[in-house]
């Protein structure tokens, strides 16, 4: 058997094309090894070879999910690889969704093994962990070396059709697949052993982690929206010009609450975005594009809504941990409730 042929998918950032200003970069294929491919090449030694790298901007992919997927699929087909590797995407949300989407499509359409990597809180992880192998990585590119160390050997195993071990052995995110095996001890003994460890306060590993279905049932509709107090909330990082609370451009450690009582329109003079995860040009020109105060005021005047709540809440959603976002929102939601807000419009970038 010759060298295993690999095609890799990366975004505009890892291709060295640019940051957010190039996030609308259209799919492109290059017959070379680029960016993270270098580390994979070193890890593959002579066993495998990256024959092509496909690059696509994160915003382009996510805004054109179907057409981008189809286009990239055609590119991969042309090279007929033995395995397709996407990313790793770490905690980059759009990149993770792109990696998962294209990996799943390649696996389904071409019937070849695929592999991607991302941080467990990446939205792409929950979307695709059941369908594709996703190696769990750290939350930033500082974890590249560790990611390649796990991804490269797993990719080789997948390409050769070897047996794949459990998620904890191989380092991928659990796919919810059960496998029978012969344990040394019977169930009752294992359960009692676990219980004793738990009583002693020692660490133990459950054999059946309970799934975490965190779903909230929809609330009843607003009876009469023309009388309702409506609040605006955003993860798009809109803040008063100058970002008075210094909300971080990513991995926000706080949220802001801002008074809009005297605003009928947000302008480049008054508001901007603190968000570092998308090209800020358009939001900085006119923040209504993310936080639509202008039209909400018109709705208020026209009687379409009762009133626009005096405050809006904002944070930057990129790289911000689920636990933090949850805590921020739990706190300000109570305030919204106490302030008599009847409905919320939440905008995300």
């Amino acid at each position: 058997m010759g060298k295993i042929k690999v095609v890799q998918y990366i975004n505009q950032f890892y291709a060295g094309i640019g940051g957010e200003e190039k996030a609308d970069y259209k799919p492109e294929v290059r017959e070379e090894i680029i960016g993270p491919g270098m580390a994979f090449k070193a890890a593959f030694k002579d066993e495998a070879e990256i024959i092509a790298t496909i690059i696509c901007g994160d915003s382009y992919f996510n805004e054109n999910l179907d057409s981008a997927k189809e286009k990239i699929l055609q590119m991969v087909k042309k090279y007929n690889p033995d395995i397709f590797i996407a990313g790793p995407a770490f905690n980059a949300g759009r990149y993770g969704v792109a990696c998962g989407t294209i990996a799943e499509a390649v696996q389904t359409e071409m019937k070849i093994p695929v592999l991607t990597g991302m941080y467990c809180e990446n939205p792409g992880a929950d979307m695709f962990r059941k369908s594709v192998y996703i190696v769990e990585t750290k939350n930033s590119a500082a974890g590249m070396r560790a990611a390649v160390k796990k991804m490269a050997p797993l990719a080789m195993k997948l390409a050769k059709g070897e047996e794949i071990g459990s998620p904890s052995e191989e380092g991928y995110l659990s796919r919810g697949i059960r496998k029978n095996y012969f344990a040394a001890d019977r169930g009752s003994k294992r359960a009692v052993d676990m219980l004793i460890k738990k009583l002693k306060g020692e660490e133990f590993i459950t054999e059946f982690p309970m799934p975490d279905f965190d779903r909230v049932e929809p609330n009843p509709a607003v009876k009469d929206i023309s009388k309702a107090k409506v609040a605006l909330v955003t993860s798009g990082g809109i803040v008063p010009k100058g970002n008075p609370d210094r909300i971080e451009s990513s991995s926000a450690s706080k949220y802001g609450k801002y008074d809009i009582l005297n605003y009928t329109d947000l302008t480049s003079e008054t508001h901007e975005t603190a968000h570092g995860g998308y090209d800020p040009t358009y939001a900085n020109q006119d923040a209504d594009r993310v936080l639509p105060v202008d039209i909400m005021r018109e709705f208020e005047k026209e009687g379409k809504i009762g009133e626009l709540h005096r405050y809006f809440y904002s944070t930057t959603g990129n790289g911000t941990s689920v636990a933090n976002s949850k805590a921020y929102a739990a706190e300000f939601s109570k305030e919204l409730k106490n302030d008599g807000v009847d409905a919320v419009i939440l905008t995300s970038t």
Binding site: M127, D288, R289
Partner: protein
């Protein structure tokens, strides 16, 4: 954030571009937006034209908030 708002008993609509993410996160009322860096605008149009599309999107959002839903619902139009 959308779930925490819903949890305190306030109906909430999520306006966002990448609908699959919103579905994964668990939003119940979803209105698809224009683009990631400008969900409620389009810089290639004039300010007036932009306000028209923003008004349309927010009209959908208001409608979504006034509509009873049984589980996750995407309001396409």
């Amino acid at each position: 954030m959308v779930k925490e708002i819903e949890r305190v008993g306030i109906p909430v609509v999520h306006i966002c571009t990448v609908v699959p993410i919103s579905l994964t996160v668990g939003a119940n009322r979803i209105v698809p937006a224009i683009a990631i860096p400008h969900p409620l605008g389009n810089p290639s149009l004039t300010m007036e034209e932009e306000k028209v599309i923003r008004r349309t999107l927010l009209g959908k959002a208001i409608k979504a908030l006034s509509t009873e839903v049984d589980g996750q619902t995407v309001f396409e139009d």
